[in-house]
């Protein structure tokens, strides 16, 4: 079943994607669905900005507005940013460490489908009686009081997709621990692999508190328990703690892989080795570590008392140090380099001032007494969009341009790319810079309207205008994707010409087994080393050409996730009284899930072999090897 035997046709392609366990195809699935959700979240953002464009606007009703901000935040964080980053991790990380696939290809597929069905489930709330409306933080007292099933869609949907993410995290960790090519020591791993590693570790330890919190919420709302019911002795602050014990590491789960992408870009397009590689690695680990000790900075105004506030304030400030180390090492990387301003590079360059601006406002918020003023005001909205849009989204856009040729074998247009950049970048600052001042001028966040008597009209109008620029930028990107896909000009191994790491040593897109022979790694930036040594092949090999063992495709992950999806509807309507079928649906769903898990564990799935002959055949098939 080498590439020669691949079936064609639309139905077959769909089936292939539904059953695939190949990390590169799963990456594409993540990219498409994450991209889709990004558009959904973006449209929600546009609705927000339209509503706030002028004082007393009645474009959206109060209740609907709350649903939209909740879904905007939830969608962007859980269903857009994270999967898009997981897409790059899947596509690139195994290549960077010279592996044939991730450690658990089957689980990789399961992780994707769980995320996907969770996301769909969450968004179906729009069509089934209303979306969640208690903010993406879903604070317990409001969430329990919320009518309808919106909150239940939130809790169940996030539970399912959370499991998917947890599986992905474990998978990447094991891959990096166990599957590195010979010679690829930890301190030779590319920075994107490192950030994937740390982000996955954060996923591993941060998602359980969220899941437990979500379960409490599910039990409270659907099965009458009383974790958060104050009259019954419950305590809503527990939810806040659990949410933020998860929530703060979560923002580093988002930013670290983006840091990784930028690290690659700075090195590639300055033609220079990363300055202070070791420092960058340790800064990454430190950020991950501190990330677990600062969550209560989201809760300064809760009333935890001055001791707790002071401790968490100081702990939070410390994070500026490792982050600063990263910033300065990047600056020193481009310093003395030979900078080529390709699209990925302009994103990376633009990221530095944007992110620093967002980071320093974070440190201001860490000053607890000052945060009493800033908390829940538009200053916060400005802060986190600066770090998220100026860090994570720019990282995703940069990564899209950088890795597009590796994933699809064709380049995105540089010219359109620059247009996207300028629209998006200008729009971004226009939208969010001014929001700092709105916050300082007393505007609370999460307000669906504001009076003309508050003095916030002008700045809100400017902010809304900026959002339009961002939307134009995104639309140009879509046009770019469509046009270059139609043109489909094929590229070689190293389309940027200055690739440094292993993924650039193999064809774009790589064959499904990645490396015909496992490479031997001789140092940091191994492809660069080989290139400099004049090695035409771009790598040396650790093993002779031989048979390759590959896993079989499977539909089971899809079915397991589908079962959970169905069961969730049962759980959702379980206590409704007028819906006796709910229990049946719950049981059927669980049966599908557990049944398919049983099939999986009873049926041995030993994979198959690609023979040496097939590999040789494939190599002759004429994949170009770059310039």
């Amino acid at each position: 079943m080498s590439s020669i035997a691949q079936k064609k046709g639309f139905g077959a392609t769909i089936w292939d994607f539904m059953t695939t366990v190949d990390h590169k195809k799963i990456a594409i699935l993540y990219l498409i669905s994450g991209g889709f959700f990004f558009l959904v979240g973006g449209i929600e953002a546009m609705l927000i900005r339209i509503q706030l464009a002028k004082a007393g606007n009645d474009f959206l009703s109060a209740g609907l507005y709350n649903e939209i901000i909740t879904m905007h935040g939830t969608t962007m964080i859980f269903l857009a940013s994270m999967p898009l980053l997981l897409a790059f991790m899947n596509a690139i990380m195994p290549l960077q460490i010279g592996a044939r696939d991730v450690a658990f290809p089957f689980l990789n597929s399961l992780g994707f489908w769980l995320f996907f069905f969770g996301g769909i489930f969450l968004n179906l709330s729009w069509f089934m009686g209303g979306a969640p409306d208690a903010g993406w933080t879903n604070y317990a007292s409001l969430a329990l009081a919320s009518e309808g099933h919106g909150i239940d869609f939130y809790t169940l949907g996030l539970t399912i997709s959370g499991f998917g993410t947890l599986i992905a995290g474990i998978n990447f960790l094991v891959t990096i621990i166990n599957m590195r090519a010979p010679g690829m020591t930890y301190m030779r791993m590319p920075l994107f692999t490192w950030t994937t590693f740390v982000a996955s570790a954060l996923i591993l330890l941060a998602f359980p508190p969220l899941t437990v919190g979500l379960f409490f919420m599910i039990f409270d709302r659907l099965f009458n328990s009383s974790f958060f019911v104050v009259e019954m002795g419950g305590n809503t602050i527990i939810w806040e703690h659990l949410f933020w014990i998860f929530g703060h590491p979560e923002v580093y789960i988002l930013i670290l892989p983006a840091f990784g992408i930028f690290s690659e870009i700075f090195a590639i397009f300055s033609r220079k080795r990363l300055f202070g590689y070791t420092a960058l690695v340790f800064a990454t680990i430190l950020i991950g570590f501190y990330g677990f000790m600062v969550w209560a900075h989201h809760m300064f105004t809760v009333g935890l008392g001055p001791t707790a506030n002071a401790v968490f304030a100081l702990a939070t400030m410390i994070i500026a140090v490792p982050t600063g180390i990263k910033i300065f090492n990047w600056l020193l990387t481009i310093w003395g380099g030979s900078i080529s301003f390709t699209v990925p590079m302009i994103y990376a360059v633009a990221f530095i001032p944007s992110f620093v601006a967002g980071g320093v406002t974070g440190v201001m918020q860490a000053i607890a007494p000052l945060d009493y003023q800033l908390h829940d005001s538009y200053f916060i909205v400005a802060h986190f969009h600066y770090v998220i849009v100026g860090g994570v989204v720019l990282g995703i856009l940069a990564g899209t341009h950088l890795y597009w040729p590796k994933m699809f074998g064709t380049m995105l247009s540089e010219k359109l790319g620059k247009w996207t950049f300028w629209f998006f970048f200008i729009g971004f600052h226009l939208t969010f810079f001014i929001q700092h001042f709105l916050g300082l001028m007393g505007m609370p966040r999460r307000v669906y309207t504001f009076g003309a008597d508050q003095g916030w009209d002008l700045f809100n109008a400017i902010s809304s205008a900026g959002a339009v620029f961002m939307a134009i930028g995104v639309i140009i990107l879509l046009v770019n994707v469509v046009m270059t896909t139609i043109k489909n000009e094929r590229v070689g191994n190293d389309p940027w010409g200055d690739g440094r790491t292993l993924e650039w040593a193999i064809p774009s897109p790589p064959p499904f087994y990645n490396f015909a022979q496992t490479p031997l790694v001789r140092g940091l930036d191994t492809f660069w080393i080989e290139k400099m040594d004049g090695n035409k092949k771009g790598m040396i090999f650790a093993e002779p050409l031989g048979d390759i063992h590959m896993p079989n495709n499977s539909i089971i992950p899809f079915v397991i996730s589908l079962g959970m999806f169905i069961a969730s509807f049962g759980a959702l309507y379980f206590l409704d009284g007028d819906k006796p079928w709910a229990l049946a649906v719950l049981i059927i769903g669980l049966l599908i899930t557990f049944g398919s898990m049983l099939v999986r564990s009873l049926k041995d799935d030993l994979g198959f072999y690609i023979t040496k002959e097939e590999l040789l055949e494939d190599a002759k098939g004429g994949k170009t090897d770059g310039h």
């Binding site: 109060a62 409001l142 220079k272 080795r273 481009i334 001032p353 620093v356 001042f437 609370p444």
Partner: protein, 353 residues
């Protein structure tokens, strides 16, 4: 530069609500922290920007030549040390006032201190947040008001905050930072009001609910009247007089009738006397309605808005807990005349002369 920028921006915000124009000691402390941290942050941004701009200007490929392969530098321990140490120093500068202020602002030890004559020396207000409105009880004075907080200037006022339903957050931007109003426990803090609100264009400071609490979260406003101690004492005395001021005029008398138990029973939820305890009635206390700055906390204070509100409260604050007048009137809409009467009555409720 940041400071001048802030001064410039202060012109943009409204003094009733902007944190940039502090009108109380607490807000002033916080504003000072804002300035201090802004300067430090600006310094950080400038340093980064200088290196950044120099780098991207000096080292473009068009200048370096297409084939130039830069030296592959590994790093520099000295530089690493430098940019670890300098931020730490900057953070230490921030850390000291942070810790000091955190404890200072949380210090309520003088709250129950008794003066010589046995009365408590500082004013305490019990704030109850309810779905979209605020109630202020003055326990030592034995009075209750709602929607508008009245406080003396130039002294510490202590607040006990509790929610009657879900979580809210109590915020008067120009007076001081917010504190959450939780359902399970009382939060306590203090504020000082250094300016009389009558000097403001609108005559009141604006207070906000700062925690998402449902559809009308955006409208859960309250107003603050800060007056000097003398005036405050007068106000308290007026509130304490058992009998509400006599109702004058036929229309208003008809309104009183409608409002009462034999009419629409508005009185079941709305007390009209300021004497009493907090957190008992389902609706706002009306004793000072005529003196208010707004209707329902945010609508301009005129009869038109008042009548509209009474006729259909949901239209103005979606999800609030006041029933539409029709449902109190056996399903029939109130006539224009009845609304006029209610409005006349309510507008006449006042304790100021």
């Amino acid at each position: 530069m940041m400071a001048t920028l802030l001064v410039f921006l202060a012109g943009c915000g409204r003094e009733e609500i902007s944190t940039l124009i502090p009108a109380g000691e607490v807000a002033q402390d916080q504003f000072n922290l804002l300035i201090l941290s802004s300067i430090i942050m600006l310094f950080v941004i400038i340093v980064v920007s200088i290196i950044f701009v120099l780098a991207i200007v000096k080292f473009r490929r068009s200048k370096m030549g297409e084939d130039m392969i830069p030296e592959q530098v590994e790093g520099s321990a000295r530089l690493e040390f430098l940019w670890t140490a300098v931020p730490i120093v900057l953070l230490l500068i921030l850390a000291v006032p942070t810790v000091y202020s955190t404890f200072d602002l949380a210090d309520v030890s003088t709250m129950d201190v008794q003066a010589e004559d046995g009365t408590s020396s500082n004013l305490t207000v019990n704030v109850t947040a309810k779905l979209y409105w605020w109630e202020f009880e003055y326990p030592e004075q034995g009075i209750v008001t709602s929607q508008e907080l009245v406080v003396p200037t130039d002294e510490r006022v202590y607040f006990n905050l509790i929610s009657a339903d879900i979580k809210h957050s109590f915020w008067i931007p120009s007076i001081g930072g917010k504190l959450d109003v939780n359902p399970e426990n009382v939060n306590t803090f203090y504020l000082t009001f250094d300016q009389q609100s009558s000097e403001l264009e609108d005559g009141v400071f604006y207070g906000k609910c700062a925690e998402l609490c449902g559809p009308s979260h955006a409208l859960m406003d309250f107003k603050v009247k800060s007056v000097d101690r003398e005036e405050f004492d007068q106000w308290v005395t007026a509130m304490q007089s058992e009998e509400p001021a006599a109702v004058e005029g036929d229309l208003a008398l008809q309104g009183e009738e409608l409002f009462g138990a034999d009419g629409l029973s508005c009185i079941a939820c709305h007390a009209t006397s300021g004497v009493g305890e907090g957190n008992i009635m389902q609706g706002p206390n009306m004793a000072t309605f005529g003196d208010r700055n707004r209707v329902a906390g945010y609508l301009e204070h005129n009869e038109e808005n008042l009548k509209n509100w009474i006729a259909d409260p949901q239209e103005y604050k979606p999800g609030n807990l006041m029933p539409a007048a029709a449902s109190l009137n056996n399903g029939e809409e109130l006539t224009e005349q009845e609304l006029d009467a209610l409005a006349a009555y309510l507008m006449g409720l006042t304790v100021e002369e």
